[in-house]
């Protein structure tokens, strides 16, 4: 009961029983249909299982590649680097965790932002990166996204944010929490200016990310079968002391409960985004 709902990214890690957010190897067994899949073929298929349509988790750069017209994406705010404001130390120091992640991923932190074209429509884009500390939102993710929103406001661009995150980053504690307020406040101004914010929720989107910008889209799109929620399934299970119903907190469940506008398979995402941008006249 006293455990805050943000303890979700570890839930996900444990539930998956894998260390990495994205599986490795030349061949892999699809977790959905159990078929052996040739990785190249799956990757060429937008990281979707060719047999059953299971959507694999993808990193932010791959997401940008999939969404934007070739060569059109220009990254912004890449100079932002995480620090260790709290001198946070658990079994390891935050500093060492960040460094290990930076070396492993070649990224500074868990967000990629910039401007690009989606089927010829210019947009400000920010994608969270699940491969970096489970896409958790600390100061750098919050700042990157806020600058992207402010840029979209200033330039009158549509805004597309692709979320996948375990929530707020514990190691920056209160400052991570404040990113929720900061990004939401920036979205209020973008809204006042008449902007179009399309929020794309992918597997998984939980905790402080869901409870801030991710659920504030003018239009909210979810990829099929993505886990989307406030509290992690483990915390809910512990609280209510019963098993969760089949499909609980999945995209289709949220659609049925009226919480998202559309569930859109990855192959149709570009078309859907460009069509919505057209409808809003952006």
């Amino acid at each position: 009961m006293t455990q805050a709902a943000t303890r979700t990214w570890a839930d996900l890690k444990r539930d998956d029983g894998k260390k990495s957010a994205i599986p490795e190897g030349l061949w892999l067994r699809c977790p959905s249909c159990a078929q052996m899949i040739y990785r190249r073929q799956m990757e060429a298929n937008l990281h979707v299982c060719p047999e059953c349509g299971h959507h694999y988790r993808i990193g932010a750069l791959e997401r940008v590649r999939q969404l934007t017209d070739p060569g059109s994406f220009q990254a912004m705010f890449e100079g932002l680097m995480p620090t260790d404001p709290l001198k946070f130390r658990d079994l390891k120091t935050y500093e060492s965790r960040v460094r290990a992640e930076q070396i492993r991923t070649g990224r500074n932190d868990a967000a990629v932002a910039g401007v690009g074209f989606i089927k010829g429509r210019q947009a400000a884009i920010c994608c969270l990166d699940l491969t970096f500390m489970m896409g958790s939102m600390g100061s750098v993710v919050g700042e990157t996204l806020t600058r992207t929103i402010e840029h979209a406001t200033k330039e009158n661009l549509p805004l597309v944010v692709v979320s996948c995150s375990g929530g707020a980053r514990m190691q920056e504690s209160g400052l991570s929490l404040m990113q929720m307020a900061k990004t939401s406040a920036a979205l209020a101004r973008y809204d006042d200016a008449g902007g179009l914010f399309i929020s794309v929720l992918t597997d998984p989107t939980t905790g402080g990310v869901t409870a801030s910008f991710a659920m504030l889209g003018d239009v909210i799109i979810a990829e099929p079968k993505a886990l989307i929620g406030f509290a992690g399934p483990r915390v809910i299970k512990q609280t209510i002391r019963q098993d969760l119903p089949e499909g609980f907190q999945r995209s289709e469940f949220l659609l049925e409960k009226g919480l998202v506008d559309r569930v859109v398979p990855r192959h149709e995402l570009r078309t859907e985004l460009s069509r919505l941008i057209d409808y809003a006249g952006k």
Partner: protein, 353 residues
């Protein structure tokens, strides 16, 4: 019955001696005195006066010990004080501070969540809307309030009433006291995340002054959902963080026990002083000696003084200034470095894709 915390043990001995002195006084007093002896005469007797002196000394020692203990609490101990069963809650403070309180119920959508109390009231010279988490005092109320863990309808009720207040430019005072928003089936399917998110966005642009005080537990998004304000304060013995120490310990230390909880509480920098230093709160409101649960009235007046002082400053500001300052307040929060090559740059740099 008074619930005693582990670190308050040094007080027990002093309390025992105080009780002993009081018993002595009682025995020498009306009850035990021979007929015809007035209480005044007993009190003036040499024995009674030396007992009284000793009692005064012990009382002073007790206050000093209490102050010393509370001045040196570890973060995990602060969390325990913040959760003290006798700690005043929103309804206690409303009773102590607000005149003519007029409670408003329900979100007009789904229900009336008792875990968040909303209503108009007068604080000092100001008409206000008060919004606060309520954990519940007795078992029945605690269960009804889900121990202060609000559901989406609670956050939506809060926003509906805050919008009403903003319509008439009535200032808003929020009291934060929650372990976190409720993690359950109903809460999820009714959009817990959306309810909190919308509060964050809307509070950032409500055209009326907002002040928030963390009075006990400031647990994560559930706390922030009532705390996007022009001024934010914490009571001295409250905590405010992205996750509870137990939640953090369970993940990062792989297990939650007394030792790891204490380590997580240290690491999370969740105390009032820490949050003040990080710029997350603007002020720390001191509690009476030995914390709010020993003197709820004293804690209430400290809150009242701070609220009135803030509102005195805020009510005269134009909406434009108010909202700009509120935006800037949150905009600057965060800690990061920026590589020199790209510092301040907001034009696109070469493609990565």
């Amino acid at each position: 019955m008074f619930y005693q915390l582990e670190f308050e043990k040094p007080l027990t001995e002093i309390d025992d001696r105080i009780r002993e002195m009081e018993r002595k006084l009682d025995r020498g007093g009306v009850a035990g005195a021979p007929p015809g002896v007035t209480p005044e005469a007993v009190a003036l007797a040499p024995d009674a006066s030396s007992v009284r002196t000793e009692l005064d000394r012990l009382q002073a020692e007790r206050t000093e010990t209490l102050t010393r203990i509370y001045a040196n609490l570890r973060p995990w101990e602060v969390v325990r004080v913040a959760r003290h069963p006798n700690r005043p809650q929103t309804r206690d403070y409303i009773g102590a501070i607000c005149r003519d309180f007029c409670e408003l119920h329900g979100d007009r959508r789904y229900g009336d969540d008792p875990a968040i109390v909303t209503g108009f009231g007068r604080i000092g010279p100001h008409k206000c809307l008060v919004v606060g988490h309520q954990k519940g005092k007795d078992t029945t109320e605690k269960i009804r309030c889900h121990f202060g863990c609000a559901h989406p309808e609670g956050y939506r009720k809060a926003l509906a009433k805050m919008r009403l207040a903003a319509k008439y430019r009535v200032p808003i005072v929020t009291l934060v006291d929650t372990p976190g928003a409720y993690p359950g089936l109903g809460a999820e399917q009714r959009g817990q995340a959306e309810a909190i998110a919308v509060n964050l966005m809307e509070m950032s642009r409500l055209e009326t002054p907002i002040v928030s005080i963390v009075i006990g537990e400031g647990g994560s998004g559930g706390a922030l959902g009532l705390a996007v304000a022009d001024r934010v304060a914490m009571l001295r013995n409250s905590w405010y963080s992205v996750i509870s120490p137990e939640g953090c310990a369970a993940i990062l230390w792989k297990q939650a026990n007394e030792q790891t909880n204490a380590q997580a509480a240290d690491a999370l920098k969740l105390t009032a002083s820490d949050n003040l230093e990080l710029g997350i709160v603007d002020a720390v409101i001191e509690e009476p000696a030995g914390a709010a649960h020993r003197d709820p009235k004293g804690a209430a007046s400290a809150i009242e003084r701070w609220v009135v002082a803030q509102l005195d400053e805020l009510v005269g500001k134009s909406n434009e200034t108010l909202l700009q300052e509120r935006y800037d307040r949150f905009r600057k929060l965060g800690a990061y470095e920026e590589l020199a090559a790209e510092a301040g740059e907001d034009t696109p740099s070469p493609s990565v894709g």
